[in-house]
C-alpha cells in the first residue's frame, strides 16, 4: 500500500465535500423538477429514482409506439382479474348505463361522467401494445378519449402533480404523474378493435397508459383524484403496486 500523502488527504477531503454538496444540490433540484418517485425509499430507492429521473429527463414528451392495423393481434390475451365485485355485477346487469367516473381533488370543478358523457368528448383511436411485466405482450386498437381532455374539463389546478385512479374492484388503484396523465396517448378507453371494450380487457372503462407496463392500465375505472402529493394515499408509496412490492414507475 502506498502511504497517504498530505496532498492526497487534502484533495480527498475537497472531493468528498464537493461530493456531499453536489448530492444535496442534486437532491433538491430533483425534488423541484419532479424526478423523485414516491417509492424512493428503501434498498431499491436509489435504482428506482435513477430510472424514473432518467426517464423523465429523456422520454417525457415521446409519443407511444403505434403500429399498423395489420399488426393487431388476432388473439389478444385478457389477463386474469379477481372475480367481479357485487358493485360491478350490479352495474353490468344494467348494461353499464349507470357507470360513473368521478373526478375530484385539485380541480376547479369536480365532476361525474357517465359513459355517454365520455363518448361525447373527442374520440381518438390508437394501435398500441400492452406489455406485461411478466414478459408477454399483444397489440390492439384502443378507442376512447384522451385523459387530458377530461382533466381540461374539470380544470386541473396549477399545483397538481399526480392523478390517482381507482378501479371498482377493491384495493386496485394506481397513479401517474402529470407528464403521463396529460400525454396524448393516455386514454380513458371504452372501445377495442372496433367494438365495445370487453369486460376481460377492462370494459366498460379502462385507463390506457401505453408508455408504461400493463399493470398501470387499470381496469374498471370509477374514480380519479388529482393531487399535489401521494403521501396521504394508502401507505404513501404512490399506488397499490409498491405496496405489493412492485415499482410505481412501470416505464421499464
Amino acid at each position: 500500500m502506498s502511504p497517504i500523502s498530505r496532498r492526497k488527504l487534502i484533495t480527498g477531503g475537497i472531493t468528498a465535500t464537493a461530493g456531499v454538496a453536489g448530492l444535496a444540490t442534486a437532491a433538491s433540484l430533483a425534488q423541484r423538477y419532479g424526478l423523485i418517485p414516491p417509492d424512493h425509499g428503501g434498498v431499491y430507492g436509489p435504482g428506482e429514482t435513477l430510472t424514473y429521473a432518467a426517464q423523465r429527463l429523456l422520454t417525457t414528451h415521446a409519443p407511444a409506439r403505434e403500429f399498423p392495423r395489420s399488426m393487431i393481434s388476432k388473439n389478444p390475451f385478457a389477463n386474469e382479474t379477481a372475480p367481479p365485485s357485487e358493485a360491478f355485477k350490479t352495474l353490468q346487469a344494467a348494461g353499464f348505463k349507470d357507470w360513473r367516473l368521478t373526478v375530484d381533488g385539485m380541480v376547479a370543478h369536480p365532476a361525474s361522467f357517465s359513459l355517454s358523457d365520455l363518448r361525447s368528448l373527442p374520440t381518438r383511436a390508437q394501435i398500441t401494445e400492452v406489455a406485461c411485466e411478466e414478459g408477454w405482450s399483444y397489440i390492439a386498437e384502443w378507442i376512447g378519449t384522451p385523459l387530458a381532455g377530461v382533466l381540461n374539463e374539470v380544470g386541473v389546478l396549477p399545483q397538481a402533480r399526480y392523478v390517482v385512479y381507482y378501479s371498482i374492484q377493491p384495493d386496485w388503484w394506481e397513479s401517474v404523474d402529470m407528464a403521463d396523465a396529460l400525454h396524448p396517448h393516455t386514454f380513458l378507453t371504452m372501445g377495442m378493435n372496433d367494438g365495445d371494450l370487453p369486460v376481460g380487457f377492462g370494459g366498460p372503462l379502462r385507463l390506457r397508459v401505453p408508455r408504461q407496463l400493463g399493470y398501470k392500465s387499470v381496469k374498471y375505472i370509477t374514480r380519479m383524484t388529482v393531487t399535489d402529493s401521494l403521501k396521504h394515499f394508502g401507505k404513501g408509496l404512490g399506488s397499490a403496486s409498491p405496496e405489493g412490492g412492485y415499482a410505481w414507475f412501470a416505464g421499464i
Binding site: 502511504p3 497517504i4 431499491y44 415521446a62 409519443p63 409506439r65 399488426m71 414478459g135 408504461q212 421499464i252
Partner: protein
C-alpha cells in the same frame, strides 16, 4: 497504524528490485468486483422474472394465445401460463424487477467508469488489444490456437502471462466488454415501453419487443457461459493466487511470491 508520509520513505537503492506494478490496477479491481456483484444480482433476478413467463417468442408480440419459439420446461409463478405442472411457484417479480434495474444501474455506471479509464489510462491498448505480432488475421490465428493447444495439454503459462493476458483471454474479455455487454444493455432497453417510445429504432432494428426479450435471454446465457469458463480457468490456474491478485493487486510475478 498510520501510514508514513511519503516524504519520509527512503528511495529504494538501484540494486534492490523496485516493487512490481500491481497485477491489476486499483480501478480494474474495484470495477471488476462491482460488476461481479451487479451481474450476479442481474442473473438471479432475471431468472426469477423468466419464471413468471418461461415462454419465448420472435417478433413484436407473444403471449399464451400465440405459439412460442421455445419454452423452458419449468413451473411458472403465474397460473395463466400452461406449463404442464400442477403447481404455481411463488411470485418474486416485484423485488426481482426492482433489484434487476438497480443492479443494471450499478453495472452501467461501473462500466462507464471502466470505459473512460480503459481509453484514457491505456488499459485497453496495453492489456486487451492483441499484441503487435497478433494484430493480423494470420498472427492472431496462430497465437490463438497455440494458447488453446497449450490449455488442452495443461501446459504451464508463459512468463508474460504473469503480467498480462494471453490472446485467448484478450479475445474473451474484449468480446464480453465490447459485444455482449452493449448487446445486453440494448436488448434490455428495447423492452422498456417508455424508452422505446423515445427511441423506437432501439426495438425496430432488433425486429420487435419479443425478439429483444429472447435475445436478452440468449445473451445472458452467453455471459453465464463466460462466467463459468472464467471461474474454471482461474481455478485451474491457481484460484487463491488469482483471487488475491484481483483483490489486493499483488501478482504472481512479485519476487517474494513464487508459484
Amino acid at each position: 497504524m498510520l501510514p508514513a508520509m511519503s516524504a519520509t520513505v527512503p528511495r529504494p537503492e538501484p540494486e534492490t528490485p523496485v516493487r512490481a506494478e500491481p497485477r491489476h490496477s486499483a480501478l480494474v479491481r474495484v470495477t471488476h468486483w462491482l460488476t461481479v456483484v451487479a451481474f450476479l444480482a442481474l442473473l438471479i433476478t432475471g431468472g426469477e422474472i423468466v419464471i413468471s413467463h418461461p415462454r419465448f417468442y420472435w417478433g413484436e408480440v407473444g403471449n399464451v394465445m400465440t405459439r412460442p419459439l421455445f419454452t423452458i420446461p419449468i413451473p411458472s409463478s403465474r397460473d395463466t401460463v400452461p406449463t404442464g405442472y400442477k403447481y404455481v411457484m411463488p411470485d418474486q417479480n416485484g423485488w426481482s424487477r426492482y433489484l434487476h434495474f438497480e443492479a443494471a444501474w450499478v453495472a452501467v455506471l461501473t462500466g462507464l467508469v471502466y470505459l473512460i479509464y480503459g481509453l484514457w489510462g491505456r488499459h485497453f491498448g496495453n492489456n486487451l488489444l492483441p499484441e503487435k505480432g497478433e494484430r493480423s488475421w494470420g498472427g492472431f490465428g496462430r497465437a490463438f490456437w497455440r494458447v488453446i493447444a497449450k490449455y488442452l495439454r495443461r501446459g504451464p503459462p508463459d512468463a508474460a502471462e504473469a503480467r498480462s493476458y494471453n490472446i485467448v483471454q484478450r479475445t474473451a474479455y474484449l468480446t464480453v466488454i465490447f459485444v455482449l455487454f452493449p448487446l445486453i444493455i440494448w436488448t434490455g432497453l428495447a423492452m422498456s415501453p417508455a424508452f422505446t417510445a423515445a427511441v423506437p429504432e432501439s426495438v425496430i432494428l432488433l425486429g420487435g419487443r419479443q425478439t429483444a426479450r429472447t435475445l436478452h435471454f440468449f445473451i445472458s446465457g452467453l455471459l453465464l457461459l463466460f462466467l463459468i469458463v472464467h471461474v474454471t480457468m482461474i481455478a485451474m490456474a491457481g484460484f487463491w493466487t488469482r483471487m488475491r491478485a484481483m483483490i489486493t493487486g499483488r501478482g504472481v510475478a512479485d519476487p517474494e511470491e513464487k508459484e
